[in-house]
Symmetry: C2
């Protein structure tokens, strides 16, 4: 068996067909009529998916460990098992009307990397791990990114375990019922974390690129906004005597868009949810509630967007209440790992571009406790969280080849001063 | 008993306290905890309200007739019963969370006119009638203004009788179950029709006037509008690659308002109902449906408003479908009856102003088959169709005094050429 030698292993390639077949096989568990997948976290279907992954991982010689929040770690031994592992992973739970690739790709790309190394008798210095993080989607239990959040200390294990679904079943009980409540261990050290993922957006496709070199994740500030007007009959109430809450809402929707555009390239602003009261054809709306979702690459920009929103609301002709309900800090990824992704894409002659993650991913939490980076590949029309989510086999193979190279580089990198402290 | 002599009867006044007490007594039938009334058309409560009115009408010497759609006509004989009656009336059905005055005031003001004439031994040349129109509100059965619509030939009796409520009960069966299915008679001729009503808007109060001299009713054009965008994740989708249906909706909401304002004083435009799909906080809206309600005093103005709406939709960055779903023609009231309302208010030294009915009323249908006019009185804060609907006793009394005078004038007016043809 060969020890890692970069020049020698630059020619290693994953088996794209095997990766695709694994994706399709996993997608049969919870398959929907429309070609998607419904495999909610900690259900019997999730158990079947987990069991399949565990069987595959053991089949490639991994040792498998489950932690107390149900995260699965499949470990391939290194030459120096005292070193922290180079980890990759993602999730296999889906949205209720989810697709075959979101999350599943990152997990099975990791498995394909291990299979390729086995095929070629390659050993790495540091051990490798493929992680399956519990309940990334948050469809059944909140908070989202639960398993990686516990691992990274974003919230406590006890907090996560006591969360309940709509039927009142706790995470603790759901884990026990599918047999994935592992031993309570402290999160282990990670030498480097990579996550391959479909982009879930349209940028790569619009730019005709195969690999997105992800710089980091946007910070997020979410708001609940309530506009108080006065409901009145549409007929007898002249325009000048109205207090139409929907008119103010319309201005706000426009302004959220303007604020985001004025903070290009990464500023994003969305009003996704609107509730009109009483929502009757011939009644002037007396109250409108809506949500605002601001995203940006740094806190200074988010602060400016926040100030612009509050300024407009304060100047409104009707009372507007603004409550901030969610904050995720911007999370840059590790510069040298990001460079490694870019270099590997170049070395493999894949078209690539710098990208930013607008959504949350397990990697965003992992970046709090380890050097981390992500690899994006295109998905058709940018559509995800949808049964018609689709991706090209050659793109998935390309992302997996990049993942192979960056993991090889990280796993054989010279250990830096203090890295094993 | 005196025959009508205008100078002699200019000093006649209704009993405001009696009117108020009748309103409060009727309001006990279906009274709600919040001080309103829930007395849906053709329910047991409606029957109790009808029975009370019929008893009162018989108590003042009226003959009572029910027609095939359940309209009640209480007739006070005139000196010349071959003349068509001078009629007043309104409705006593309410919204589910309705008030004490909407409709009920017009009926009981008519009753109070008859009581006042009895008290003063006044006979009129033409007979007088007080009508209670079936199902004006349309809350339980559509179409709205059902009884007056059948009477005026806006739609057929059979069409009205076959309409069903949400439980599948037809108007025919509901009428039978409360014993108000009358004989099937053709609508009788009406010499003049007056309707006293709370304004249901804020104009009189804003102008500090007691009597609204209603010139007519606005025409209405209602639309269903659908904007087709593309739903996408709020995070990974940059602003320039979005097809956000809600942004187009926001522009449309603003434009509907602008169009109405540019057609002052009577142009009105309202977006009252909005449906956002998928209506999720972090998903860019892929489809928005909304309603548009345009009103104006004449068809030429409505045509301009329609053209402006369609023009904007055609120029939209996303496909916008516009379906017109309702049209009510503008309905001017009879000029000489409108003058009579104004003159009577002046003679009684009530402050008054010209007004327009933005909403539908039974009088609007009656105006198709008889000279018609309306008398508005203020309601608190312009609020109606609400349990907190309120009106001042002195305003209600003032409107009733105007009603008394205009009915006396009409009932003793010289018969014009061909009026009895």
């Amino acid at each position: 068996m060969q020890v890692l030698d970069l020049p020698a292993h630059a020619g290693l390639r994953v088996d794209g067909a095997r990766l695709w077949n694994s994706l399709m096989e996993l997608a049969r568990i919870g398959a929907t009529h429309k070609g998607g997948v419904c495999r909610l976290a900690l259900t019997e279907l999730d158990k079947k998916g987990r069991d399949l992954f565990v069987a595959w991982a053991k089949g490639v010689g991994c040792t498998v460990r489950i932690d107390a929040i149900g995260n699965i770690f499949a470990r391939r031994a290194g030459l120096r098992d005292d070193r922290p592992p180079v980890m990759t992973g993602s999730h296999i739970d889906t949205q209720p009307t989810g697709g075959k690739f979101d999350g599943n790709y990152g997990v099975l790309a990791g498995l394909e990397v291990l299979r390729t190394l086995n095929d070629n008798d390659v050993r790495t210095v540091a051990p490798l791990e493929v992680a399956v993080w519990t309940n990334e989607e948050g469809s059944r239990f909140v908070p989202v990114m639960m398993g990686s959040g516990v691992f990274a200390g974003a919230f406590t294990l006890d907090y996560a375990l006591m969360q309940k679904d709509r039927e009142g079943i706790s995470v603790r009980d759901a884990l026990a019922s599918i047999g994935y409540e592992g031993e309570h261990v402290a999160a282990h050290r990670v030498g480097a974390y990579f996550e391959a993922h479909i982009e879930q957006g349209p940028v790569l496709e619009a730019n005709d690129k195969v690999i997105g070199v992800v710089q980091g994740a946007l910070g997020q500030r979410w708001y609940d906004v309530t506009i108080e007007g006065m409901e009145a009959h549409a007929g007898p109430t002249p325009m000048e005597l109205r207090r139409d809450a929907l008119l103010v809402a319309a201005d706000l929707i426009r302004e959220v868009n303007r604020i985001a555009i004025s903070h290009a390239p990464h500023g994003r602003g969305t009003v996704g949810w609107v509730d009109v009261h009483p929502n009757s054809r011939n009644v002037i709306p007396g109250r409108v509630k809506l949500t605002v979702d601001f995203r940006a690459a740094d806190d200074a920009t988010l602060d400016e967007m926040d100030a612009a929103l509050r300024d407009m609301c304060a100047k409104s002709s009707l009372p507007v209440a603004v409550d901030e309900v969610v904050y995720f800090a911007p999370q840059p990824f590790d510069a040298s790992l990001v460079d490694s992704v870019r270099d590997s894409a170049n070395a493999l002659a894949y078209t690539s571009m710098d990208a930013i993650s607008g959504a949350g991913h397990d990697a965003v939490y992992l970046a709090r406790v380890a050097p981390a980076a992500m690899i994006f590949v295109p998905c058709k029309d940018g559509i995800s969280h949808n049964e018609i989510e689709d991706a090209q086999a050659d793109h998935l193979e390309a992302g997996c080849n990049v993942l192979l190279q960056v993991m090889l580089r990280a796993a054989n990198a010279p250990v830096q001063e203090g890295a094993q402290a």
